[in-house]
Subunit: 243 residues, 2 copies
DNA sequence: ATTAATCGGGTTGTCAGACAGCCTGCGGGC
DNA sequence: GCCCGCAGGCTGTCTGACAACCCGATTAAT
């Protein structure tokens, strides 16, 4: 077997992980296959065995490989993975990003419904404060768009907190922060168009209102309306092109 | 700082990861804090530095800690995590499991809507075959419940495949296989009640029908109806108690 | 006295070698 | 033909070492 040689980048183990996972993705390594021994990999990559071990330990951590003492390391079945992780390249492609957005939206929508049943007065106050921040941001010609963008993220997080589902919150925070990393510039340009920002705020205000009323069905509907629209608005932008 | 001592369990590095993450969860380690040096951790845990390094490399892999050469390793901010992972303990608690189920359902519901727009004749055939397997399973008094359970999982996976969102598929497969691990026995008992199984099959048949019609709104509605009901049926079981 | 250069200790990242415990596969004895 | 034992290879762990790096303190220069 042959792996992409590595070029002293950020971290040796990380390079090896990348090399192995890409070999896996390319189908060169298939579930059930045995990896070369650590020694063999070490010499092939030109590194010490400790480095290879560190790389393999990460793959084990994700359930991508399983190792047996005295035998070797094996590629696990796909359904045995124990972590959900998105490779940084996914965020570079427009199509992938929109898919991730849909994934996130699905969770956010359900969480909004839960929030409508678990809300307290303090929760509502918090969300209304975020809405106010959005409205204030419109007037701020300098950093208004950035403030709006941040406020939108905070609203999502606030809703997830209200829903009292820490797994959903963790998931949303993780996926959202990574999306935000790549999307900030485009999204900021988007909200710079004041009429779009006003529409978005109005949508979110209705969502908060539904949560306030304790109406999960309406919360779900309003959440879907806003977050799907937001994704659509992003998708429609010509400058949000494939990279 | 004091960490839980470890007792030669499954894997030394894994124990250390568990010890560190539990310290993090308990609030003893907070974002921005510096970890003890690898040497210090090694002596404290009574292991070699390589073992500690392997543990820390896993935490780095998840974005939970970041290390700087010549300085040390630091707990990262929560929003810097790059992996979504559920600790095995979560699946032991009834409440946690239901939350995870809601998380999964949110994704499945959105994915069903996408599937309704992307379906092909072959996809429909596949899903109808799975439905047939469910109906056949009712007659099988020996392994019928197990067959039904597996078929339900396959239907979810099939829908995710149709929707052409590999991230959602990965997510669902991961969370579902872990839920299934803990839930199989209860779910199997559930579907043993034939009238419940018949209801569930009917619900899923309507979902498939909506996908076949290419009606995303209906698909969403039917999906929510079935999967929320399924979660409710599980929650209602008295023997699905806290462990 | 203030600033600049230097030095030393501590830390991570990597390397090399070693050994225990385990497993597989082969060959020899029955 | 079947079973036992052994050798070799593998993973898991340990030990010691060194380079590169960072920080703080001490020292030197202005």
């Amino acid at each position: 077997m042959k792996f992409k040689s590595l070029e002293r980048g950020p971290s040796l183990p990380q390079e090896i992980v990348a090399s192995l996972t890409s070999a896996l993705f390319a189908g060169e390594l298939r579930p059930g296959d045995r990896l070369p021994s650590e020694q063999a990999l070490a010499t092939e990559f030109g590194v010490a065995r400790t480095v290879v071990r560190e790389a393999i330990s990460q793959l084990k951590y994700d359930g991508i490989v399983q190792s047996r003492v005295g035998v070797g390391a094996f590629i696990a079945q796909p359904q045995e993975r124990t972590a959900f992780r998105i490779s940084p390249e996914c965020f570079k492609k427009r199509k992938e990003l929109l898919k991730l957005l849909r994934l996130r939206n699905g969770v956010v929508i359900e969480v909004a419904a839960d929030a409508a049943q678990a809300r307290s007065n303090r929760d509502i106050a918090r969300m209304e404060a975020i809405l106010k921040e959005m409205r204030d941001a419109i007037g701020d010609s300098d950093h208004g768009a950035e403030r709006h963008f941040e406020a939108e993220r905070q609203l999502i997080h606030a809703i997830a907190k209200v829903a009292d589902n820490e797994h959903a919150l963790n998931f949303i925070v993780m996926i959202d922060s990574q999306i935000a990393e790549k999307l900030r510039s485009v999204a900021v340009k988007n909200t710079k168009a004041t009429e779009l920002a006003a529409v978005a705020i109005e949508e979110q205000a209705r969502l908060v209102e539904a949560i306030k009323r304790g109406d999960p069905v309406a919360a779900r509907e309003k959440a879907r309306k806003h977050y799907d629209n937001a994704a659509q608005r992003l998708a429609d932008r010509a400058d949000f092109a494939d990279v």
